[in-house]
Symmetry: none
Subunit: 207 residues, 4 copies
DNA sequence: CATGAATGAGTCTTCATTCAT
DNA sequence: GATGAATGAAGACTCATTCAT
């Protein structure tokens, strides 16, 4: 919960160019350590080593370890949420079939963009503080989905909120399964096809 | 894979009556600590304290902390997998609409049976050892779903495996979202309705 | 030091036949665990397991773990000391050359009889209590060697005690090296030859 | 063999001046605890206490307890090996009698230099990791002894390796006995005399 | 500002020993 | 006598965090 409160967010808004670069380096290092070593072994020392900075430097930008991980997760969730918002914005006024397809594809693409990182970040989202960040991102996405659904040219939804929740969850579930297993391009294509079917079909099932 | 082999399974097949009781006490204590304190604070000391036994006793039954958590997760997954298998066995020969409803309901019920525990166990599923256990349980469920889908009276599926995977994921996703948020009976009823729509609709969308 | 005091010696002088057998089984089990697992992992549980008895039973015969290990070491030292005493008794009145050869051979044979065990027991002899037991056995052997040296038909020794000490040490040193390395029969034969040369030569070097 | 490779060697090549001092302090503390408390009670806590640092600091320099003890043993063995190499280098071309005396004296002196430490380190030499280090040091010393023996002005040796092995063992044995017992300067002088006799006599016994 | 050595609380894990059955 | 479940003190090791340089 407190992962998102003031003391856990970046300590300084980077004013100088060097700061931005360092922050970026730390971000990448964290992701890499997370992917290579897992969340348990992703500690400040290892991140600092991989980033090529000292632990002290990390503490210049983040007040503690949780903030560091929260920051990384937040950034990832941000990109996914943006992708969904983008898809929703573009799809305004379209048919529900098009909306379902657009949302499914956008979500899948956003997660696959950095598949390994996405997978590694599942472990963070489940730890105490992550849940809150995920909830915030979900709220954003739900709002976008609700908005686009309400603009559908071919359907009306009685309980848009519930429909949006189920739609997003129904897309997120298989994607999670996909990422947690070994998969190849063929598997991805198959899943994508079914995912689009699933989403479009669901939305079109309303009278 | 090897996380679920010998070293992570219970160390001792309880011979005396006392052992069985102790094992059960440890199991319950672990769940409780997991729910109340979260996975990070669910350590051997706390479990032992809550169980009213000494740490040593835990190690009589589990080779290490991971095995303890894995054991709890395994038992949970077992119950969910059984619920799905049960639903699939019962639904043989039915229509795809009935199947989708049955699977969605079975899954939701199994997870809601011990909702708090289910929620807490998501965190373990993401830790390294958990992923393997989840994969095994998923495999079991996929087999059952594939089997029942192939027996549908009203549809044929070209790629049953993919359909089963997407179906299960599509059900699991919203359920996870549900459990990770505050919810009441009304919300559950709404979600359940949509979940049934989603599953049935998806299956019926095939020619 | 206190390994040899009263409370650390076998708790009961076995009166019944069964007791003797159990004691023997425990002895063998301890040696085997010591050889296979090393001194650090040679604990009461493992010894009991291998012996096919319960831990409790071990405590019927030994007051604690140290006494158990001390007992095993003692028995080994006893056999070596006896071998030396035997050789010395037989060699009374012989020439120093014969004596040196006899002692070197007796020592080597005694250690090689159960080479693996001998090697494993070095680790115990070095732990606190073992040193005292070794000292006692050494004392016995020194007495025997002093006695036989004094009976030599061809030499007189001014400081028999020192000569005996050096002689025994000079034999024990290479034997220890031999046991701590990989060796084959050829190596043993070579060492034996040189050991005899060394011992005989040393004794004959006195005017 | 692999006990002396990376994982058991110092973790950090000290970069700052403070590090060097700390490493030295830890080394001395380990020796002192070893001497005063014995190897069994020479644990990280006690070493840290005596060194006046925290346990964490020890782990900055050594990956684990064994490496710590191995490091201390290694340094000791290094000094002994150097002493022997020095003696051998100096003795090139001398007579076998001189060589024997030089080696015996060098070994005895090296061990007596820090007698208490030498004695304490015998216990480490027998623990698993120690054996490998001892083997390496022995190899070094054997090479030096072989080399010098081959240069003897008065003798030729058929199997120099075996002779060297027996010679070193024959010197090491009595020295070990000496250190493991109470002794005074007189005893040392006596032993030294006999040790020289032993070594010289042995080498001169070859045709 | 950056560094990285030092800290020490917190965990996991082992194992000698006891004692109710 | 024998058993083996339970105990809990002790020890190894980690890692977030601080602060002197």
């Amino acid at each position: 919960m407190n992962l998102i409160s003031a003391p856990d967010l970046p300590r300084k808004r980077p004013a100088q160019a060097r700061s931005v670069a360092t922050l970026e380096i730390i971000y990448e290092a964290t992701l890499q350590v997370l992917v290579k070593e897992g969340p348990a072994r992703c500690n400040t020392t290892r991140v600092a080593e991989r980033a090529g900075v000292s632990v002290g430097t990390i503490y210049q930008y983040y007040p503690n370890r949780r903030a560091l991980l929260a920051g990384v997760l937040e950034r990832h969730l941000e990109s996914v949420a943006q992708a969904i918002e983008q898809a929703c914005a573009t799809g305004h006024g379209a048919t529900t079939g098009e909306m379902g397809a657009a949302i499914a594809n956008a979500f899948l693409d956003a997660k696959l963009l950095r598949a390994e990182a996405s997978r590694a970040l599942y472990t963070i989202s489940e730890s105490h503080g992550g849940v809150a960040l995920v909830a915030i991102a979900r709220e954003r996405m739900l709002r976008a989905v609700c908005s686009v659904l309400s603009s559908a040219s071919d359907r009306r939804f009685a309980k848009v909120e519930t429909v949006a929740l189920v739609l997003l969850g129904a897309v997120a579930g298989p994607v999670r399964e996909l990422l947690e297993q070994d998969y190849d391009d063929v598997a991805v294509a198959s899943i994508r096809e079914q995912l689009v079917n699933l989403a479009s079909g669901y939305l079109q099932s309303f009278a």
